[in-house]
C-alpha cells in the first residue's frame, strides 16, 4: 500500500518550509540550525528519502526528482543567505573594533642627545671631513702640559688671569683650563703631519652666571706639517664656519694675543641671522660679525718645547667654545641651562 505521506505535494511543502526558514534565519548560528533541521539526518526530508525504496519506480522517480530539486534549491538559498549573514557579521565585528587613530601612540620615544654633545659631534665631524682625527686627554692635567709647554711660564699674566682650579695634595696638578694641553701631548707622541681635533670639558674658577660656567666644553684643533700657512688656517676655519653656520658664511680674522700662537687671531663669522642688516640683531648687534673662536699659528716656543723644529714644520691651532656655538645657533640665553638639565630643555633639541 502506497505511503500516503509520500506525495509530491508533501515534498513541495517541506521545500517551501525549508526555504522560508532559510530566509528567516537571523544569523549564522540560526542558519546552521535551519540546515540541520531541514536537511540533516533527522529531518523530515531525510525520513522521506529513507522511505523512497518502498515506492513504485515511477512514483519514486518523480518524488526523487523533486527531492533533488529541493536539495539544490535549499543549497543555493543556504549559500546565498550564509554569505549575506557572514558579511553582516563581519561588518558588525569590524564596527565594534573601530579605533580612534587620533589617539597618541603609547610609545617611549628615543631619548635626546644633549645639545652640547650634538654640537660637539657636528664640529668634530666637520673636521673629520677635512681629514682630522680625534685626540683625547685628561681633564685633571699636569700644569706642565696645561701651561709650561704652551709657552705660559709660571709668572705669565695669561697664567694668572686664567682662574685655574688646582687639585689638592698634588703639586702642579690642575683642572685643565683649556683643551690645548692635548696639543702638547699629541705633538710629543706623534710625528707630523698631524691633524687632530680635541673635544672635551675644561674648567675655570668662575662663579656661574648667564655667560660664565665653571665647566664648559671646547673643541681644540691642531695641524702641524711642513709648509702650513696662515692662509691654510683661514681656509680651514672658513670650511668649518660654512659647515656649521651655512654655505654663505665668511670668516674674518682680527689680531689678538694667545701665548701659544703667533700670529694670533680672534675669528669672526659673518652673521647669518641678519647678514649685518639689522642694527638690533640679538646675535651680532648689527655689526654683521659674530666672534666665534680664537686661533693662530703655533708659537715656535711651543713647537720646540714639544720636540719639533720650527724651521722644518709649522702649524696652526684653534679653539672653539661649544656652549658659545650652541648659544649662538639655538638662541640659548643662559649658559647655565646646559648644566641644569631641565627635561624641557633636554627634550627641545
Amino acid at each position: 500500500m502506497p505511503d500516503r505521506e509520500l506525495r509530491p505535494e508533501a515534498v513541495d511543502a517541506l521545500r517551501d518550509a525549508a526555504l522560508r526558514a532559510v530566509a528567516g534565519a537571523a544569523d549564522l548560528d540560526e542558519l546552521e540550525h535551519v540546515r540541520v533541521a531541514h536537511t540533516g539526518r533527522r529531518s523530515d526530508l531525510a525520513g522521506m528519502q529513507r522511505r523512497l525504496g518502498s515506492l513504485d519506480p515511477e512514483t519514486r522517480r518523480e518524488i526523487g526528482a523533486r527531492v533533488n530539486a529541493f536539495r539544490d534549491a535549499f543549497d543555493e538559498a543556504f549559500e546565498t543567505r550564509r554569505q549575506t549573514l557572514a558579511a553582516a557579521a563581519l561588518s558588525e565585528r569590524l564596527e565594534g573594533e573601530r579605533l580612534d587613530l587620533t589617539m597618541p601612540p603609547q610609545r617611549v620615544p628615543p631619548g635626546r642627545m644633549h645639545l652640547l654633545t650634538q654640537v660637539e659631534h657636528e664640529i668634530v665631524d666637520a673636521f673629520v671631513g677635512l681629514g682630522y682625527r680625534v685626540a683625547e686627554g685628561p681633564e685633571v692635567e699636569d700644569a706642565v702640559f696645561n701651561f709650561d709647554l704652551l709657552n705660559i711660564p709660571a709668572d705669565h699674566p695669561a697664567r694668572l688671569e686664567m682662574d685655574t682650579v688646582y687639585v689638592d695634595s698634588a703639586e702642579g696638578v690642575v683642572l685643565r683650563t683649556h683643551t690645548s694641553p692635548v696639543q702638547a701631548r699629541v705633538m710629543l707622541a706623534e710625528r707630523p703631519p698631524i691633524a687632530v681635533v680635541v673635544p672635551g670639558r675644561v674648567y675655570r674658577n668662575d662663579a656661574p652666571d648667564p655667560t660664565h660656567s665653571p665647566v664648559f666644553q671646547q673643541v681644540e684643533g691642531l695641524a702641524v706639517a711642513a709648509g702650513l700657512t696662515m692662509a691654510d688656517l683661514r681656509g680651514t676655519l672658513q670650511a668649518f664656519a660654512r659647515a656649521l653656520f651655512g654655505h654663505e658664511r665668511e670668516v674674518r680674522l682680527r689680531p689678538s694675543f694667545f701665548p701659544f700662537t703667533e700670529p694670533s687671531a680672534e675669528v669672526d663669522v659673518s652673521c647669518g641671522f641678519c647678514s649685518g642688516q639689522d642694527p638690533s640683531c640679538r646675535v651680532c648687534s648689527g655689526t654683521g660679525w659674530i666672534e666665534v673662536l680664537g686661533a693662530g699659528m703655533v708659537d715656535p716656543n711651543v713647537l720646540e718645547a714639544c720636540g719639533l723644529d720650527p724651521a722644518e714644520v709649522s702649524g696652526f691651532a684653534f679653539g672653539v667654545g661649544i656652549e658659545r656655538v650652541a648659544m649662538l645657533r639655538h638662541g640659548v640665553g643662559d649658559i647655565r641651562e646646559f648644566y641644569e638639565n631641565d627635561a624641557r630643555f633636554l627634550e627641545r633639541f
Partner: protein, 824 residues
C-alpha cells in the same frame, strides 16, 4: 684702557667717523670694548657768574644765589655752600637737559623751592658727568669763559671715550701715547707730536742708588720745589675721571696724568719727609714693616722690592707708596720717581699682598725701559705750569735699558708663512718701520730688524711676521686648505662611544651634562672599595670641593630638579669621566687606555669614562601617561646589556655579557641591588634607591640608578675594530617548540636555572624565552616554578618527537644537578 678721543687727537690726527675708527682699530688689534660719551645730552647749560649768595629764608640746607648769565640776572636755589661771589659756575637754565642714569634725561624747569622760585639749577661735576664729585657746585675757575658761554665751549662734554682691550703681551698699549703710536702705525700716518725726551741729568738734591740691580733697570729721581698743592684745572680732572682715575690734587693728578699719557707710573715723595736726602732701590728685609698709602701696615719679605731712604723702606716699588712720605696739602717739595721695575718682582709683591694698583698693572705687563726721563720731564713741566713749582734737578741710577737684540728675518719665509707670497721684502720693511722698528735690508730677502724700546713683545721672526700681517691687515690673507692630505676619522673606540650614546638614547634616556663638583659625602656607586677622592685646593664652593667619584650624585641632583618641576617621570644618562686618585681600584678599571701621566711620568688621577643611568616615575611619552607603566631597575639592565652587547667583539658570546651578582650598598634597596660583573671584574652597580634615601632626597621611591665604567668594555677596541661578523646559514627545516617548567628553591637565581636549562638542552637549542614565574602552595614555601619556551632546531635535518624527549630529559638531568626539578 680708556681713551678720551681729544687726548688721542693730541698725538695722532684721525679725521674718521667714530664707527669707522673703531672698526679700523679692531682690525689692527686694538679691540674696542665700549665707547662711552660722558656728558652727552647736556644742553642749555651756560657759564654764569655768582653775584650774591644768601641763606634761604625757609630751608637750612639751601642757599639762594643770584647769578649773571650774560643776558641778565637770575635767582636760583642751590643745595651746596661752596660758592663765593665772583665764582664762575655752570647754570642749567629752564629748558636745559641733563643726562640721567641709564640713558634717561632730565629737563630743568622753573620751580618753587619752599617759597623761592628757582630760575634754573647750578650743576655739580657729577650732574655734568665731568667727575664723580657730587659734594658741591662745580666751580669753573678764573680762566673760564665769560658768562653766557655755552658750557660745551669750555668742557668737551659728550666726548667719546674709547675703551680698548689690551692684549697681555702689549704693555706698551697701556697709555694714550702707546695707543696713538699703534693707531698711527695701523693707519700709516705720522704721530702729531712726539713727547720731548729730556737729556739725562745729575744735578738733583736727592741721591738715588739702585742696589737691587735685578729688580730695577733704571731709576730717575727728579726734584720739584716750592709748589702749591691745590685742585687741578677742570680739563685735567675731566680727562682723569674719563679714564677712571679719581682726581685728588694737582700734584697727585699730574703723576696720574703722565702715567695715563705715557704709560710710565710715577710716584711723588714729600722730600721733607724723606730721611737723609737719598733713596735706594733694594730688596725688603725680613720682618721689615711699611704702612702703605691705604693705611695698612705691611710686613715685608726679602723678595719684595722696596724704595728706602736712609733709614727705612718708604714704598713698595711699583706697587704702592708709603704713608710716611706721602704728599699732602702742605707739601711744597717733592721727589718724582720714574723707574723701570722688574715685572716679576712687582707681580710677586702685588699678588702676595693682594694689592693691585694702576702702577702695578703697568709694571707687570712691562713699561718702556727708555721712558723714564721722558715721563719725569713731562710731569715736571706740568707741575711747574699747574702748581707753580720750580725744577730743582734730577739724578738717576741703574744699568739702563738693555737694547733690543736685532732680529734676522727671512722675508721670503714670512711671506710664505703668512700665506701672502706676493708680499715683498720692501713691503715688509715698510710695514715694520711703521711701528718704529729699524730695518736694515740684507741680500736674499733677509732683513735685520731692531724693534723700538717699548715693543717688548717683538723678539723673534714669528713676532715680526705677526707685526707684518697685522699692519698689512689680516683680511688680506687668502683662504686655502692645507696641501697635506691626511686620513681622518674616528677610531673604533671613539665610534663605540657614539654607539653607547645611541643605545642609551634608543631606550628613551635623555643625556645630561652635570657639574663635577660634589661634597665629600656624595653618593657613589662604582668601585665602592676605592675610598680615595680627588679634592680641590680652591673650589668654587667649600661644600663642593671634591671631583665627582661617581656620576650618581649629579644625576640625583638632576632628578630632584625635575621632580621639583613636577615632572612625573624621567630617564637620564650621563657619559663622562669620574675621578679617584691614582693607584686605586678605579685606576685599575681605567686601564692603560685612559691613564695619563705628568711630564715627569707620575700617574695622574684615574679619570675613566663612565656611564651613569637614572630613571624614576612614569614611563610616559608625548601625550600619554599611565601609572601602570613606570621605570624600573630592569629598564636600566636592558640598557646596560645592550651597551655590553654593542661593545663586545661577538654579542652572541655569553662570556662578554654582564653578570649580575646580588649585593648590598648603602643608600640602595637591599633586595634590588646587583653588582655588574664582566669577564670576572666588577664594572658597575645597578639598583633601586633605598626608600629612606629616596625620602631624604625628596625623590620618588621607585628611583633607580646604575653606573658602569666603560673603559674595560671597550679596551679591546683600542687595538682596532673587532673582526667583522661572519654570516650564519639559516636553518631551512621547521623548528620544534618545547615548553618546560623548572621548580627551584628561591636561593637559586634565575640566571643559574637558565644556564642549567641551556646546558641540558644542548646543541639543538636555538632560542629560549622565560614566560612564567609562579609560586604556590603546591610547590611548597620558598620555591618557585620558572617556565621556559624552547625552540629546537638542527641545521641538517627535521627534528622528531624523540629529539624533543631527549632534550627534555637532558634539561631534567641538568636542573637536578643544581638542586631543581623538572615539573612534569
Amino acid at each position: 684702557m680708556k681713551v678720551p678721543l681729544s687726548w688721542l687727537h693730541e698725538f695722532v690726527a684721525v679725521e674718521l667717523p667714530l664707527d669707522e675708527l673703531v672698526e679700523l682699530m679692531g682690525r689692527g688689534g686694538l679691540e674696542v670694548e665700549e665707547v662711552r660719551r660722558p656728558g652727552a645730552g647736556v644742553t642749555g647749560v651756560v657759564v654764569a657768574r655768582v653775584q650774591e649768595v644768601r641763606d634761604h629764608p625757609d630751608a637750612d640746607r639751601l642757599v639762594v644765589v643770584t647769578v649773571e648769565d650774560g643776558d641778565g640776572e637770575r635767582v636760583v636755589c642751590a643745595g651746596a655752600r661752596n660758592l663765593a661771589v665772583g665764582d664762575l659756575v655752570p647754570l642749567a637754565v629752564p629748558g636745559a637737559t641733563l643726562p640721567g642714569t641709564g640713558g634717561t634725561s632730565i629737563t630743568i624747569e622753573r620751580r618753587d623751592m619752599r617759597g623761592v622760585v628757582s630760575d634754573g639749577m647750578l650743576c655739580s661735576p657729577r650732574e655734568l658727568q665731568v667727575a664723580d664729585d657730587h659734594g658741591g657746585i662745580m666751580v669753573l675757575g678764573d680762566a673760564a669763559a665769560p658768562p653766557g658761554t655755552d658750557i660745551h665751549e669750555l668742557l668737551a662734554l659728550g666726548e667719546p671715550v674709547i675703551d680698548v682691550a689690551i692684549p697681555a703681551d702689549r704693555g706698551d698699549l697701556q697709555s694714550i701715547l702707546g695707543i696713538a703710536r699703534d693707531l698711527a702705525a695701523i693707519l700709516d700716518v705720522d704721530l702729531e707730536k712726539a713727547p720731548d725726551d729730556p737729556s739725562p741729568r745729575d744735578d738733583g738734591p736727592v741721591q738715588v742708588r739702585v742696589e737691587a740691580a735685578d729688580g730695577c733697570a733704571h731709576y730717575v729721581g727728579w726734584a720739584v720745589q716750592g709748589l702749591t698743592v691745590a685742585d687741578s684745572p677742570w680739563w685735567l680732572r675731566r680727562r682723569l675721571e674719563a679714564c677712571g682715575v679719581r682726581s685728588l690734587s694737582n700734584l697727585v693728578d699730574v703723576t696720574n696724568y703722565v702715567m695715563l699719557e705715557q704709560g710710565q707710573p710715577l710716584h711723588a715723595f714729600d722730600t721733607a719727609r724723606l730721611r737723609g736726602h737719598e733713596v735706594a732701590v733694594r730688596w725688603g728685609r725680613d720682618g721689615e714693616r711699611l704702612t702703605t698709602l691705604d693705611g695698612r701696615q705691611r710686613v715685608l719679605a726679602p723678595d719684595d722690592l722696596v724704595i728706602a731712604d736712609a733709614d727705612r723702606a718708604v714704598a713698595l716699588a711699583g706697587v704702592m707708596g708709603g704713608e710716611d712720605t706721602e704728599v699732602g696739602p702742605a707739601t711744597s717739595d717733592v721727589l718724582l720717581e720714574a723707574a723701570v721695575f722688574d715685572a716679576t718682582a712687582v707681580r710677586r709683591t702685588s699678588r702676595r699682598l693682594g694689592l693691585v694698583s694702576e702702577a702695578s698693572v703697568r709694571f707687570e705687563r712691562g713699561v718702556d725701559p727708555s721712558g723714564t726721563w721722558r715721563a719725569a720731564g713731562r710731569a715736571v713741566e706740568l707741575l711747574v705750569e699747574l702748581a707753580g713749582g720750580t725744577d730743582a734737578g734730577a739724578r738717576a741710577d741703574g744699568a739702563g735699558a738693555t737694547a733690543h737684540a736685532p732680529i734676522e728675518l727671512d722675508t721670503g719665509w714670512a711671506a710664505r708663512f703668512l700665506g701672502l707670497p706676493e708680499l715683498s721684502t720692501d713691503q715688509q720693511t715698510e710695514l715694520l718701520r711703521r711701528s718704529g722698528t729699524e730695518v736694515e735690508v740684507r741680500d736674499g730677502g733677509v732683513v735685520v730688524a731692531t724693534p723700538p724700546s717699548w715693543r717688548g713683545d717683538l723678539g723673534r721672526p714669528a713676532d715680526l711676521a705677526e707685526e707684518v700681517a697685522r699692519l698689512h691687515g689680516y683680511e688680506g690673507i687668502p683662504a686655502t686648505l692645507p696641501a697635506v692630505s691626511l686620513q681622518g676619522g674616528l677610531t673604533a673606540r671613539q665610534r663605540a662611544e657614539r654607539e653607547v650614546r645611541q643605545a642609551v638614547r634608543a631606550a628613551g634616556f635623555h643625556e645630561a651634562h652635570t657639574y663635577p663638583f660634589v661634597g665629600s659625602d656624595a653618593f657613589s656607586l662604582v668601585a665602592a672599595d676605592d675610598p680615595g677622592r680627588v679634592t680641590l685646593e680652591n673650589p668654587l664652593q667649600k661644600d663642593a670641593a671634591t671631583l665627582r667619584p661617581s656620576l650618581a650624585e649629579g644625576l640625583l641632583g638632576v632628578a630632584r630638579r625635575n621632580v621639583g618641576q613636577g615632572r612625573a617621570g624621567l630617564a637620564l644618562a650621563e657619559l663622562g669621566r669620574v675621578f679617584r686618585p691614582a693607584g686605586g681600584t678605579l685606576a685599575r678599571l681605567a686601564g692603560a687606555g685612559a691613564t695619563w701621566s705628568t711630564r715627569d711620568g707620575d700617574p695622574l688621577p684615574a679619570q675613566p669614562m663612565t656611564l651613569g643611568l637614572l630613571a624614576y616615575g612614569s614611563r610616559s611619552g608625548p601625550g600619554w601617561r599611565t601609572p601602570a607603566s613606570s621605570w624600573g631597575v630592569f629598564d636600566l639592565l636592558a640598557v646596560l646589556d645592550e651597551v655590553a652587547a654593542r661593545l663586545a667583539p661577538d654579542s652572541d658570546d655569553p662570556t662578554w655579557r654582564l653578570e649580575r651578582v646580588a649585593t648590598e650598598r648603602p643608600g640602595l634597596h637591599p633586595g634590588r641591588t646587583a653588582a655588574l660583573r664582566w669577564r670576572g671584574i666588577d664594572v658597575g652597580v645597578v639598583g633601586q634607591l633605598h626608600p629612606a634615601e629616596a625620602e631624604a632626597r625628596d625623590l620618588p621611591e621607585t628611583t633607580v640608578l646604575a653606573e658602569m665604567v666603560l673603559e674595560p668594555l671597550w679596551e679591546h677596541l683600542r687595538a682596532g675594530p673587532s673582526p667583522p661578523r661572519a654570516a650564519r646559514p639559516i636553518a631551512r627545516h621547521p623548528a620544534v617548540a618545547v615548553d618546560v617548567a623548572v621548580v627551584a628553591p628561591d636561593d637559586i637565581s634565575y640566571a643559574a636555572v637558565e644556564a642549567a636549562v641551556r646546558e641540558g638542552a644542548g646543541d639543538l637549542l636555538d632560542g629560549l624565552w622565560w614566560f612564567d614565574e609562579f609560586r604556590g602552595e603546591q610547590l611548597g614555601e620558598g620555591r618557585r616554578s620558572l617556565a621556559f619556551h624552547l625552540r629546537l632546531q638542527a641545521p641538517d635535518r627535521q627534528l622528531t618527537d624523540r629529539d624533543a624527549e631527549a632534550v627534555i630529559g637532558g634539561v631534567e638531568e641538568s636542573v637536578e644537578r643544581i638542586g631543581a626539578t623538572l615539573r612534569r
